[in-house]
Symmetry: C2
Subunit: 402 residues, 2 copies
């Protein structure tokens, strides 16, 4: 029997208990792993809940119990999660987590600490919720040189954009609706400003390119400036708008960015709607691949956490997982990356007037008066910024994927 301690009985923690309760016998039959939740650490008590008798308030009970082999850290945030994780690893217990904040900030040091103590630090659930992506990158896409990862990695923003697109609504009203439904936090900044997606693409990029990508180096824009007018233009172009967390590698030069993009209907990412997430991967031999599923939610995320617990239980004392080197992956400045830009400027302009500044453009008619929308040719971010600086009345700019 593998004794598990769950740190935090919130959304994911209660899901972990539920997954182990519901599927215990099937997991045992399928994998030979007999899981038992011995402790749940929480500040609260849960009278009437079957786990009440397992609740402890003192982490020492867990870390000092030699029976506990795997610690599930699903508290979120940096502290005390970091300290608790480090103490578990130092005690030779492996840790499985959904805490992208902690993995993005301190993953490299915690992986090293795990290795020193012959334990593992596993975080399948930190990116893409229930979607298997960390383990496939680590164990399936091993024959490939990965040169691009692009994810729809935040369910809240994808829900908001999907709803704005389907119903023609403005950001603020959809955000309020999403908050009322529990799809968005009362303080939505981490989601809508792209910070959450940024942490996740940092983790995935570290794994794919083999060195530590620091999320604070990643240029990040959120979706708060997207309007229903932008969406009308997108529809006129037969495209959709997605918040993409993107990174690519060319000749060992890695760039990364989180920003809203116009995505064509032929792109498999365009069909990822509502709270779903997807991760597109390109390999030099594999070509295009995509992993799709529920990027959040109690049970889906917990399913990924428990798959880590099972992996760890199967290899206890035998194997330690390696991910990336501790050395920092220097990111190339995004100003050198090339793409097309969709731009809205006030006033009616014909193509020739715009082309004197931007070079060849394609005017987009979305039936919106008093302004002109157009798509530039492919150019670098720096080139675009230079040209935009010479232009009065830019209403908005959205990058074009592809």
């Amino acid at each position: 029997m593998v004794q598990v301690a769950v740190l935090g009985y919130g959304t994911v923690g209660s899901g972990v208990v539920k997954v182990i309760d519901t599927n215990h016998d099937r997991i045992l039959e399928k994998t030979g792993v007999d899981l038992n939740v011995k402790y749940v650490l929480d500040l609260r008590d849960f009278p009437g809940d079957p786990i009440q008798e397992k609740v402890v308030h003192d982490y020492d009970v867990i870390v000092n119990d030699p029976e506990v082999q795997v610690v599930v850290e699903v508290m979120g945030g940096s502290e005390p999660a970091r300290t608790f994780t480090a103490r578990a690893l130092e005690a030779g217990k492996s840790v499985c987590t959904s805490n992208k904040e902690l993995v993005a900030r301190h993953g490299t040091e915690l992986i090293a600490l795990a290795r020193q103590n012959h334990a593992s630090y596993l975080f399948e659930a930190s990116c893409g919720g229930g979607i298997p992506i960390i383990r496939p990158l680590r164990t399936s896409l091993t024959a490939d040189h990965i040169d691009e990862i692009t994810g729809i990695l935040n369910g809240t923003t994808n829900y908001i954009l999907s709803k704005m697109i389907d119903e023609g609504l403005e950001f603020d009203s959809v955000l309020k609706d999403a908050q009322d439904r529990g799809y968005a936090e009362r303080n939505p900044e981490a989601d809508v400003e792209g910070h959450d997606a940024c942490r996740k693409i940092a983790i995935l990029s570290s794994l794919a390119y083999g060195k530590r990508v620091d999320f604070t180096d990643i240029y990040t824009e959120g979706i708060t400036r997207i309007t229903s007018a932008d969406i009308r233009y997108a529809k006129a172009m037969n495209k959709t708008i997605k918040l993409l967390a993107y990174s690519s590698r060319q000749d060992d030069q890695v760039t990364a960015m989180v920003a809203p993009y116009l995505v064509s209907k032929e792109d498999p990412l365009s069909a990822v709607n509502g709270v779903f997430n997807a991760i597109f991967v390109h390999g030099n031999m594999l070509g295009d691949a995509m992993f799709y599923g529920q990027g959040a939610g109690s049970e889906a995320t917990a399913s990924a956490v428990v798959s880590d617990v099972i992996e760890e239980a199967q290899v206890i004392g035998r194997g330690v997982v390696s991910y990336w080197k501790p050395e920092k992956q220097v990111l190339a400045d995004v100003s050198g990356t090339e793409k097309q830009f969709f731009v809205r400027v006030t006033g009616q302009h014909d193509a020739s007037a715009l082309e004197s500044v931007f070079g060849p453009v394609e005017i987009v008619d979305a039936g919106i008066g008093g302004e002109t929308g157009f798509v530039t040719a492919r150019m670098s971010e720096a080139e675009y910024q230079k040209r935009a600086a010479q232009t009065e009345g830019i209403v908005s700019m959205i990058r074009v994927r592809g």
Copy 2:
């Protein structure tokens, strides 16, 4: 250094050599596995090809060489692939394959033989080409009770259907075009009659449900009877047509079927076009997930084969992969499975006339004269057959997914 022998220098075999050549150093850096192709077995010689000096015509050279640790069987077909695989396993060499024919027919016995000889039989590339699906099912979706797998598992038929839909063409002319482009075999029966997809869903179902699913038990229909008129109706319903390989489990009752289905545009499988494949999986905790990528092609398939070689190289002498129990999974008759049916009958009928036989129906107007198309309510296959038998002039029937 891990010495590899490649059996068959065809599409996939040459891809395997290319993947190892191109990515050797990156694989070594990333995984610590130093791969070398020592032999290529083929009846032919390849003068001028860098692998010519590795070509052998006698399998004994390979099976008797103690340096060879992993045999890559990418010959296809049952014999001599089966005999060669068995001999390698008996010699304690692990075998990695893309041969779905062999895995579907003899996988269970070859897995057992591998186990007896402390070797592994790995077949990531047998389903979905480069898409990681076998390993995710085996190592990532372990916490879940999988209750449905639905795949677009055959690139040839998906290409043909996509082209019929995009261009309004008939099956025969698109097939001919696909043959000219090399997307379809000169003898296309295995693809267009659904046999290839049937073998793959048998493998995936065995893995997901834990017992041997025999592909000969699976009801299979191909796409040869789909016409441009069917596609006009599909468009009128805002749906598309896909050849789906489907299996589900309810209360330990497993059903499986390969058939063309009408798929709604909201379904993530509807956006899988051209030669791409996808596998949709539903778990009781995970919810919906989908794996998407290139279902065929030399390099993509080889990428999956080499990922197996790398896995095997990492565990040589340490671990043996288990998949499913040798006992047979009895399939429930599809006649009990319920769904909606889209039906075309000759002549103009109003709903009430049809409803006297079929119960509630929804008429579909695709502007096609001399016939009537309609969708039934949800009913069992048996119920549909009974009602269809009372109806004159049925032109076609296509099942509706969902």
